[in-house]
């Protein structure tokens, strides 16, 4: 290992010298890599935001174990099950209390534009803090009032005036299912791919909005455990104790259940993965073009080196050195521009698109692989450098 470092220190950094002498080519290669990196970053960002945004409401649930119908596929199509099950769940040791949530999608009129748009409505018990959302918990008394709801301030769309009015303590009104409703207070969850926003109200108000919904048909059961009880064990016990028409999940499983739905049952995950792959391939092609032109330009020099007694791997080393330098230097603009685009996207769409450390490392590794792959293809031309031809 030590001798290798000594060897490297003695080596003329040919790859770097070749790249830095050809400034235009170097810049073209760098912008190519930056472009590919931005493509990959954005695709991964959107994919991550999709999963993240669709489970934000799940994450805010104040529960250890969740009960849902086995028919449920995601929050939008959660289906319903009998309210009796949450009372039966109380028999299982370790369960402290259970609560019901009702959810449904409805068209509501935007309070500003009066245009219809789809929104998720959740009915909760106003005497229980079902969410870890300060805005909701502060307004539990208010949603006991008829037709009063709390509004998600991060809802996607034109709601600036509404939010300003709510912040000023006013109570704007609008319409859902031909009923006039009053907005009271704000909380923050945010838009997702499935819904522009969320309204939270009491179970009574919910059932008033949807008169055809039976009181006994609930969407989600929230199970709170006694201190020290293991969620995994209680979940297993619940599944064993309760009939087949209900399914118990830990909160983590419930979040993954939502993610899995979007990843597996829709083409969205596939689309983003395909986009990521396209970015990767674009990068490979661009870097290959640059490296192979460079190898071609230096054919006579490489043949001379071979004649002087340099081995093939020395020449391969030059090309890989170039590839790694390109990857590292090209990553910097790619990363910085992506950072800007992420914050732009976040502001424009309210999507939770964040640059995580894991993703940065992943893309850096991908860039290194991309450039090495291009380098590996470009080195095939080195075989053509025949020392006997240069005399």
């Amino acid at each position: 290992m030590f001798s290798l470092i000594k060897k490297l220190a003695r080596r003329t950094p040919l790859g770097w010298l070749q790249l830095s002498r050809e400034k235009t080519r170097f810049l073209v290669a760098l912008s190519g890599i930056a472009f590919a990196d931005i493509l990959i970053f954005m695709q991964l960002g959107f994919e991550g935001a999709l999963y993240e945004s669709n489970s934000r409401l799940h994450r805010s649930l104040n529960a250890d174990v969740i009960l849902i119908s086995p028919q449920g596929r995601n929050l939008v199509n959660i289906s319903t099950f009998s309210r009796r099950r949450i009372y039966q769940a109380l028999d299982v040791p370790g369960v402290k209390s259970t609560e019901a949530l009702y959810t449904n999608f409805a068209d509501w009129k935007n309070p500003e534009t009066r245009k219809k748009t789809s929104i998720l409505i959740v009915g909760t018990n106003p005497n229980h803090q079902a969410f870890n959302l300060p805005g909701v918990n502060a307004n539990l008394e208010k949603i006991k009032l008829p037709d009063t709801v709390v509004f998600d301030r991060a809802t996607r769309g034109e709601y600036a005036e509404t939010i300003a009015a709510l912040e000023a303590g006013k109570t704007p009104t609008t319409e859902i299912e031909r009923r006039t409703i009053t907005l009271h207070g704000l909380f923050e969850v945010g838009a997702s791919f499935a819904t522009d926003g969320t309204l939270i109200t009491s179970q009574e108000n919910f059932l008033r909005l949807f008169p055809r919904r039976q009181t006994g048909a609930i969407s989600i059961g929230l199970v709170e455990l006694e201190a020290g009880a293991d969620p995994t064990q209680v979940t297993a016990a619940l599944n064993a104790h309760l009939p087949e028409d209900v399914r118990a999940l830990t909160l983590e499983e419930f979040i993954n259940f939502e993610k899995d739905y979007w990843a597996k049952n829709t083409s969205i995950g596939f689309v983003f993965r395909l986009g990521t792959m396209m970015g990767f391939i674009v990068g490979v092609i661009l870097v290959y073009q640059v490296l192979s032109t460079d190898v071609n330009d230096h054919m006579a020099e490489y043949a001379t080196f071979k004649a002087m007694g340099y081995r093939d791997w020395y020449l391969l080393g030059i090309v890989f050195e170039e590839a790694i330098i390109l990857a590292l230097v090209g990553f910097i603009p790619g990363f910085s521009i992506s950072l800007g685009l992420y914050s732009m996207t976040r502001k424009a769409t309210n999507l939770p698109i964040y640059l995580t450390m894991a993703r940065v490392i992943f893309v850096l590794a991908l860039t290194a692989i991309m450039c090495s792959l291009s380098g590996a293809i470009a080195t095939r031309r080195l075989q053509a450098a025949d020392p006997a031809d240069i005399f």
């Binding site: 003695r10 040919l14 010298l17 070749q18 002498r21 001379t304 004649a307």
Partner: protein, 231 residues
């Protein structure tokens, strides 16, 4: 075989092409070159001079006959042996073949780096010293594009000789130069070779430089025609 022989060739044949297109280019070559000798090889184009030079330099695989360089048989030598053998030689080409992205010093240094036995500082010191010897002490950090043809060829000579090779192989080193620079270049080669005691095998068409030779061999149609010593 002569004890003194640096290069010893006996019964060397060489063919190009395969099958029906197979064509013999070298016939029964016999040649002994002693240490410190300067041999000029002349002959018309296509007579096989360069082929012989590339065989001696281990740039081509020897097919049949015997070719010993510094006591090592190159006929049937493995790829690794060939690469090893190349490191004993200094090459000077018709085109200078300097690396465009490297300065004169870095180019010369490449002639040392291949041996892997010098420290960076030592390599730099020797390279600068060598460039001074070829009269380019003030052009050490120039890139090839900023040097004249003669200067480039002198850098190439410095690169070939910096590692003190036992054998120097040159293929028409003066062809691309005017008579003055050409003369300078061969004088330089001769002087340095004498100082370092190395053997030179030089292919040339250039009549003006024949006087530096200890011996001139003439090649015609793949055969060595004469091996007369220069008086």
């Amino acid at each position: 075989m002569n004890e003194e022989s640096v290069i010893s060739i006996t019964g060397l044949d060489h063919y190009f092409g395969k099958g029906q297109l197979r064509k013999q280019v070298l016939f029964e070559i016999n040649l002994n070159i002693a240490a410190g000798e300067i041999i000029l090889m002349t002959g018309p184009s296509g007579s096989g001079k360069t082929t012989l030079l590339t065989l001696v330099g281990a740039l081509r695989a020897v097919q049949c006959g015997s070719l010993q360089v510094l006591g090592q048989e190159l006929c049937g030598a493995s790829k690794g042996k060939q690469v090893q053998a190349r490191r004993n030689n200094g090459y000077i080409f018709q085109a200078h073949n300097l690396h465009r992205s490297l300065t004169a010093m870095q180019n010369v240094q490449m002639g040392l780096e291949v041996h892997g036995s010098f420290s960076s500082r030592e390599m730099r010191r020797r390279s600068v010293e060598m460039l001074e010897q070829v009269g380019l002490g003030d052009r050490v950090h120039y890139y090839p594009e900023d040097l004249s043809g003669g200067q480039k060829q002198r850098v190439a000579i410095a690169r070939a000789l910096v590692s003190h090779p036992r054998i120097v192989l040159a293929d028409e080193p003066t062809a691309a130069l005017d008579s003055k620079s050409g003369r300078d270049v061969v004088n330089l080669m001769q002087r340095l070779a004498q100082e370092q005691g190395c053997t030179i095998l030089l292919v040339t068409h250039d009549n003006r430089i024949l006087d530096i030779a200890d011996r001139i061999v003439h090649m015609e149609d793949g055969k060595l025609a004469s091996a007369a010593a220069v008086p």
